[in-house]
C-alpha cells in the first residue's frame, strides 16, 4: 500500500479525431506531495486529468494510480481505486438538487454503511474542516458563492478520506484572498490527512506557496518538471514566459533575493 509513486503515467497518448492532444506524456506523482500542473489554455491539462480518472478513452500508454493499472483493471478493481481518490471539478460539479450537507454525504451513502447520525456528523466535520459556516449547510448549490462552491466540492472530494485528491483549478475564479485561504486550506489538509494532491492550476501564487513539484505541459508533452527553482532555471520558451513573464516577475525577484 505504501508504494512511493501514487500516479504513474507513461507514454500516454490521447486525441480526438485527427488531433492528438497528449503525445507520449509521462508523469509521476509521489506519495504525500502536492504536484502542480501548468500549461497554456487548451494545452490538454484537463484532458490529462480526465484521462487519469478514466473519463476519456486513451489511445496508448499506461496509467497507474495507487498501484492499479487502470487501463487493464477489472471493474471491481477500478471501483476500489475510485473509492480511494477524491476529485474537485473546476466548476464544483455539485449536485444541484441536493443540499450542501447531502452533497457531502452522497459518497458516504453510496460507499459506506453508516448510521444517519454518524453520516451527518462526518459531513458536518468535513464542512467544518473546509471552513464552511453552519448556516450554509442546508443551502442548495445555487444559493452559494463561487468560493463556497469550491469549499463544498472539496469537502465532498474528501468525504471518504481519500489518499489522493485531484484538483482542477481549485483557485480559479476566487479573489486573491480567498485563493490564498484556499491554498492554505489545501496545505493544512494535505498535512493532517496525509494526502497526495494532483492539482491543475494557473495560479502562480499557488505554485509558489503550496506545490512541492510542478509539471509543465506544452505542445502535448511534459516539457519540464521539478520544484519551482527548476522552473525558474528552465530555458524552454513557454516555461520561461510563464514563470519569468511580466506577471511572474515580482514573485521571481522576491524569490531571488531571499530575506534581505
Amino acid at each position: 500500500m505504501n508504494e512511493a509513486t501514487v500516479i504513474r503515467v507513461s507514454d500516454l497518448v490521447v486525441g480526438f479525431g485527427d488531433t492528438t492532444v497528449l503525445d507520449h506524456v509521462s508523469v509521476g506523482v509521489k506519495r504525500g506531495e502536492i504536484f502542480g500542473f501548468v500549461g497554456g489554455s487548451g494545452s490538454g491539462k484537463s484532458v490529462l486529468l480526465r484521462s487519469i480518472i478514466g473519463l476519456l478513452p486513451i489511445r496508448g500508454g499506461t496509467i497507474e494510480v495507487l498501484g492499479t493499472n487502470l487501463s487493464h483493471a477489472e471493474e471491481e478493481q477500478r471501483r476500489a481505486t475510485e473509492r480511494r481518490w477524491g476529485i474537485l471539478f473546476q466548476q464544483g460539479a455539485l449536485f444541484s438538487s441536493l443540499s450542501v450537507l447531502q452533497n457531502v454525504q452522497f459518497p458516504m451513502r453510496e460507499y459506506l454503511e453508516l448510521s444517519n447520525r454518524l453520516m451527518r456528523e462526518m459531513a458536518e466535520a468535513k464542512l467544518d474542516m473546509v471552513g464552511l459556516r453552519p448556516e450554509d449547510w442546508n443551502k442548495l448549490p445555487s444559493e452559494l458563492s463561487g468560493g463556497m462552491i469550491k469549499r463544498v466540492a472539496l469537502a465532498r472530494a474528501l468525504a471518504l478520506d481519500p489518499e489522493l485528491v485531484f484538483l482542477d483549478e481549485p483557485t480559479s475564479g476566487l479573489d486573491p484572498i480567498s485563493a490564498g485561504d484556499f491554498d492554505e486550506l489545501i496545505r493544512t489538509l494535505q498535512g493532517t490527512l496525509e494526502l497526495t494532491v494532483f492539482m491543475i492550476t494557473h495560479d502562480l501564487e499557488s505554485l509558489y506557496t503550496v506545490c512541492d513539484r510542478i509539471g509543465v505541459l506544452a505542445d502535448g508533452k511534459v516539457v519540464a518538471s521539478g520544484p519551482i527553482a527548476a522552473m525558474l532555471a528552465s530555458e524552454h520558451p513557454w516555461v520561461k514566459a510563464y514563470f519569468r513573464g511580466r506577471r511572474a516577475d515580482v514573485r521571481a525577484r522576491r524569490l531571488a533575493q531571499p530575506a534581505s
Binding site: 438538487s97 459506506l112 454518524l118 445555487s142 474528501l158 478520506d161 490527512l193
Partner: protein, 403 residues
C-alpha cells in the same frame, strides 16, 4: 476484554474482570476497544483499523463503551491502532465528548505521532449543528400547502399576464422600428417548430381522422346513418379536433423546448448578460419565438386538418365502402367555409397561449437542474390545460355569434 464483533455486554462483572487476550483483532485489522480493570482508573486498549470502512462497526463499539463506562476516569491506549482517519478520529472524539457529558474524564495515551495532527484537527472542529427545522402540525401544514398552492396559481397567472403584456409592448416597439425585428431568429424558429414538425403532425392527424371515420362507420351503420359520418368527420375535424390535436402536439414538442432553452439560458446568466448589454430579452428571445409559433401553429392546423380529412376519406373508401367521389360531394354539402374559419381563427390564439406560457415558465427557472425539469413539466401541463380552456371559451363565443 470485550471484542468488537461481539455485542457489548452490560453485565457489570464482565466489565470489571474480562481480560481475555485478543489476538484475532490484530490480524484481521478490525477495530477494537477493550476495557481492562485498573483500580480507580479504567484502562482501555484500542487496536485495528479505525477507518471509514469500519466506521459503522466502530460506532457501535464506541457507543457501547460510552454507555458502560459511566462517570469513571478512563485512559485509552492507542498505540496498537494500525490505521486512523477522520472517521476514527471523530469517533474517538465523540467518545470523549459523550463521556464528558456523563461526568467521566478520558485521556488518550500513546497515539502514534503521525496521527496527532489529524486528531487535533478533529478536536478543534466545533459541531454547531444548524437549527433543525421546527416540526409542524400536519393539519396546519396541509392547510398551508393548499393556501400556498392557491397563491402560486395567482402568481402564475400574473407571470403569464406579465409575459403577455411584455410581448405586446415589444411588438409595439418592433412595429415602430421594424428593422429591430430579429428576422433570422424568427425564421430559424419557424423552421424548427413549423417545418420540422410537419411529418409527425401530419401522421398523427391522419391517423386520428382515420380512427374517427372508422368509429363513425362502425356505430352509425347500426341505424343506417352512414352518410352522416362525413358530416361528423368534417365538422369535428375542422372545428375542433384539428386545431386541438395540433395545439397539444405543439405544446409538448415546441413549448417544452422553449421552456428548456430559455430556462437553461436563465440558469447560465445568459439572459442577465443580454439585459446588461442594453438588449431586451423579450424582444431578442421571446418575440421571434412566439411569432414563429403563431405562424407555425396556424399552418400546421391547416395541414393537420387536411391530413385528418384525407385519413377519414381513405377509411371511408376502404372500410365504409364510400367512393371518394361521393365522400367529396357529401363533404361539400356537409361543411361550409364557416367550419373551416372557426378552426383556423382559433389556431393563432392557441399558439399565443402556448408561447406565452412556455416563455414565462422558462424565465421562472432558478439555479438547479431540478427546477428546469419542474418548469418544463409545468409549461407543458399548463399550456395544454389553457389550450383546452380557451377552446371551451371559443365554443361559447362562436355559439353566441351563430358561427
Amino acid at each position: 476484554m470485550i471484542r468488537a464483533d461481539r455485542p457489548w455486554s452490560k453485565s457489570a462483572d464482565q466489565q470489571q474482570t474480562g481480560t481475555v487476550a485478543n489476538t484475532e483483532a490484530q490480524v484481521s485489522a478490525r477495530p477494537s476497544l477493550s476495557v481492562m480493570a485498573g483500580g480507580a482508573k479504567l484502562e482501555c486498549a484500542a487496536a485495528g483499523a479505525w477507518t471509514a470502512v469500519h466506521a459503522s462497526e466502530l460506532e457501535a463499539l464506541i457507543d457501547g463503551v460510552a454507555e458502560n463506562l459511566g462517570a469513571q476516569t478512563a485512559s485509552i491506549d492507542m498505540h496498537k491502532v494500525e490505521a486512523f482517519d477522520t472517521y476514527g478520529a471523530w469517533l474517538l472524539e465523540r467518545l470523549i465528548r459523550e463521556r464528558r457529558a456523563q461526568g467521566g474524564e478520558t485521556s488518550i495515551v500513546a497515539l502514534p505521532e503521525h496521527y496527532r495532527d489529524l486528531f487535533k484537527a478533529m478536536l478543534d472542529s466545533v459541531f454547531k449543528a444548524p437549527p433543525a427545522p421546527a416540526r409542524e402540525n400536519p393539519l396546519i401544514a396541509g392547510v398551508q400547502k393548499v393556501g400556498k398552492a392557491m397563491v402560486g396559481v395567482g402568481y402564475d397567472l400574473m407571470a403569464i399576464a406579465n409575459m403577455l403584456g411584455a410581448i405586446g409592448a415589444a411588438t409595439g416597439r418592433v412595429l415602430a422600428r421594424p428593422q429591430t425585428f430579429r428576422l433570422t431568429s424568427a425564421v430559424h424558429h419557424l423552421d424548427r417548430v413549423g417545418l420540422q414538425a410537419v411529418p409527425i403532425i401530419v401522421l398523427i392527424t391522419f391517423l386520428i381522422g382515420g380512427i374517427i371515420a372508422q368509429q363513425g362507420f362502425f356505430h352509425f351503420r347500426k341505424f343506417g346513418a352512414e352518410v352522416y359520418v362525413v358530416d361528423m368527420l368534417g365538422i369535428l375535424i375542422l372545428r375542433e379536433i384539428g386545431v386541438l390535436i395540433v395545439s397539444i402536439m405543439v405544446a409538448g414538442r415546441s413549448g417544452s423546448s422553449y421552456t428548456a432553452e430559455l430556462g437553461s439560458m436563465k440558469m447560465r446568466e445568459e439572459i442577465d448578460a443580454l439585459r446588461t448589454m442594453g438588449l431586451d430579452p423579450i424582444e431578442v428571445l421571446v418575440l421571434p419565438r412566439v411569432i414563429a409559433l403563431v405562424l407555425a401553429l396556424t399552418m400546421l392546423t391547416f395541414l393537420g386538418s387536411m391530413a385528418a380529412l384525407y385519413g377519414g376519406g381513405l377509411v371511408a373508401w376502404f372500410y365504409g365502402g364510400m367512393s371518394p367521389d361521393i365522400f367529396i360531394a357529401r363533404l361539400k354539402e356537409a361543411i361550409s367555409l364557416t367550419q373551416f374559419k372557426v378552426g383556423m381563427i382559433k389556431a393563432p390564439f392557441m399558439a399565443l397561449v402556448i408561447g406565452v406560457v412556455a416563455c414565462a415558465q422558462g424565465f421562472a427557472v432558478k439555479g438547479s437542474a431540478e427546477s428546469l425539469g419542474l418548469q418544463t413539466t409545468a409549461s407543458v401541463v399548463k399550456s395544454i390545460f389553457l389550450v383546452i380552456v380557451l377552446d371551451g371559451l371559443f365554443a361559447v363565443f362562436f355559439a353566441s355569434i351563430d358561427m
